[in-house]
Symmetry: C2
Subunit: 434 residues, 2 copies
Amino acid sequence: MGKLMRRLSTQEQNFKQVFKDLLAFETVSDPELLKTVDQIIADVRQHGDAHVLKLTQQFDRHPAHQFSELELTQEALKAAFEGLTTEVREALEMAAERVREFHQAQKQEGWTYVDALGNTLGQKVTPLDRVGIYVPGGLASYPSSVLMNAVPAHVAGVPEIIMVVPAPNGELNPLVLAAAYLAGVSRVFTIGGAQAVAALAYGTETIPSVDKITGPGNRFVAAAKRAVFGQVGIDMIAGPSEILVYAEGANNAKWMAMDVLSQAEHDTVAQAIFITPDEALLNEVEQAIEEHLAALPKADIARTSIANRGALVLVKDRQEAIDLINQVAPEHLQLCVEDPQAMAEHIRHAGAIFMGRYTPEAIGDYCAGPNHVLPTSGTARFSSPLGVYDFQKRSSLIMCSEQGVKPLAKTADILAQQENLDAHARSARYRYQD
Amino acid sequence: MGKLMRRLSTQEQNFKQVFKDLLAFETVSDPELLKTVDQIIADVRQHGDAHVLKLTQQFDRHPAHQFSELELTQEALKAAFEGLTTEVREALEMAAERVREFHQAQKQEGWTYVDALGNTLGQKVTPLDRVGIYVPGGLASYPSSVLMNAVPAHVAGVPEIIMVVPAPNGELNPLVLAAAYLAGVSRVFTIGGAQAVAALAYGTETIPSVDKITGPGNRFVAAAKRAVFGQVGIDMIAGPSEILVYAEGANNAKWMAMDVLSQAEHDTVAQAIFITPDEALLNEVEQAIEEHLAALPKADIARTSIANRGALVLVKDRQEAIDLINQVAPEHLQLCVEDPQAMAEHIRHAGAIFMGRYTPEAIGDYCAGPNHVLPTSGTARFSSPLGVYDFQKRSSLIMCSEQGVKPLAKTADILAQQENLDAHARSARYRYQD
């Protein structure tokens, strides 16, 4: 049997390079894939509904004979919700409520102020008119993804939320429809792939064009989202899931081992890293991972993930760990320490910080409240969790008075002349000299 | 002589299609350009400083013999500032101060709250560590761009702001350096093109890699920014400049004609649209445009711009105008009306709204306060002006108590089982059953 998981120590001479190599994950764009996706987009733009129906019959083996069969009614969503067991329905309701409560706090409002010259300046905040939510079908069809994408849009005040979800062989996960019902989705089409992204971006006879498309998908979906970016907004193109667990002091190794595996079970290229200054704890966690794997349905995936991209890292002290964390900028960070708030002060880059021993990452995937769509592959250095702010945008407001504009117009005149923009200068000059 | 400018009326039968065609502006990606840019990026990643120096000598005809000559000292920036005439220096200082004051109001702070279960939830806001500002050289070297990109980063608290600006033949606009001095730029390199973008994204021996790159540039720069997106953050890829002026009631046609031309003089593909329900005013503005053009240094550019992409549009009433404005989602919107605030309430999509007759767009380019980097080509439907928020990012905070986690863990357990994610379910279960 091969090694379970890479073990590293910051004391090793080549640690820096090894750690850097561990983090490296570059996606290579496949020219054939891009060509296929570009063709699908062009065909959907030209032939609309008919082409989307054709590809849905072909790729998803969907039994629909006409396009109208690809739209679900609100009654169908409600029926799916009402068909859930009490236990599952209550769990979904609690998740939706908590996600909604957290995202309410993110909502941004406009503001204005009057400057010393009597001019009014400000920022207007408006929801997007219409957004598209992509929900994968089949095995990766997660009701939690529906909540995490649709609830922020709904909280932002987006009037129309269009969801697409492929239904292979015409089959759908009722929990996904129930989540759409709870989250405030306006319309649902059972389509997927690049054709669904193209339909949302450009519109067809039946599907209205949206202003932004969010949600995860396979490589065709990711490539299509990149291709339509500019025509519409998109969220980030997500990389594989990641967790970094840091522990010191009294901790339950079995718990943390399962936390590590909860990301590893997602994907063979997911990345799970455990860091501690406590070598005995490192050994215990390693042993607990081995034990858990024996009983885990997705053990093969998890084993590949931790063997290829996982690591158990021994550090000298907390400061070394903080430096490594800021280098990784992990999607999920768990701080299993006595004083997580004090430690979190020093974390500059992470998608979400799970603080203390009673805060497993898994609750964040479902019902803690914050979004589970988070920046991956180090992009937390410059980007944020999906949020209400992704479904709002700003317009600057400027209103000058007859007197208040004069000093500004004079300054604009002088600077515009320096930039050789004469119409700018004259347009400004009229307001103080005319 | 050809027609000055297209004239449209919403009463014409084919108006909708003609107006839609007028707005259409699709940039075509040039495969040769992308190949060239990809090669430059690969070479800079491999050869670092040496390759950047080589391309700078070759493309910019820069006289530098070694890489160190491509970095400017803070003393050089200060000297440029001190060398300005009093009038220009004071204008630049006023602009920087006003831009700083407005952007201070945009700064976001973190927050937390304690939920009914005693769990703490929140959002941490952190500035980016290091950003790169691209400033075009030569003719389009605008000191106002330096302020508009660097000041928001500085206000956000970004510790290192690296500016790149090409110096064709080794020549630089001293006003650009003076603006860098005022805006709080940390380091300046006199490099440009795709090689500067690659150096900022991946770092070289001398240039540190940044987390985000903002600022305008030619098509090589735009393509390079697209290519490095994901490795670093980028701002929007800007399209041609646009203005939409709406007027009713008593107005000065000469003023508004110059406002229209102030965007048209930027670029032959810039778009200037004038809308009014007042046919007499439409005629006056058209005549004033013709008269202004006779005396404008950039008349040729402006004439081409308004002939190809401009329009004078007669509407029935204000409501029609509002609908058109929301369809265009213009970069710059001027509302030359008695009650601009009331009208602005109905505008859902615009980069910046200039309200009233004393608020020409040109003051927004320099010194009104709000940013002049604005969404173009209808992207105001889903995106915002460049702002402090582009240089900050968020991390979610979750801290559960031993008791408070139990109901969440139970919900996560139930939902994770529905998603067949067993390690997730068990990780959550430990926290309420162990």
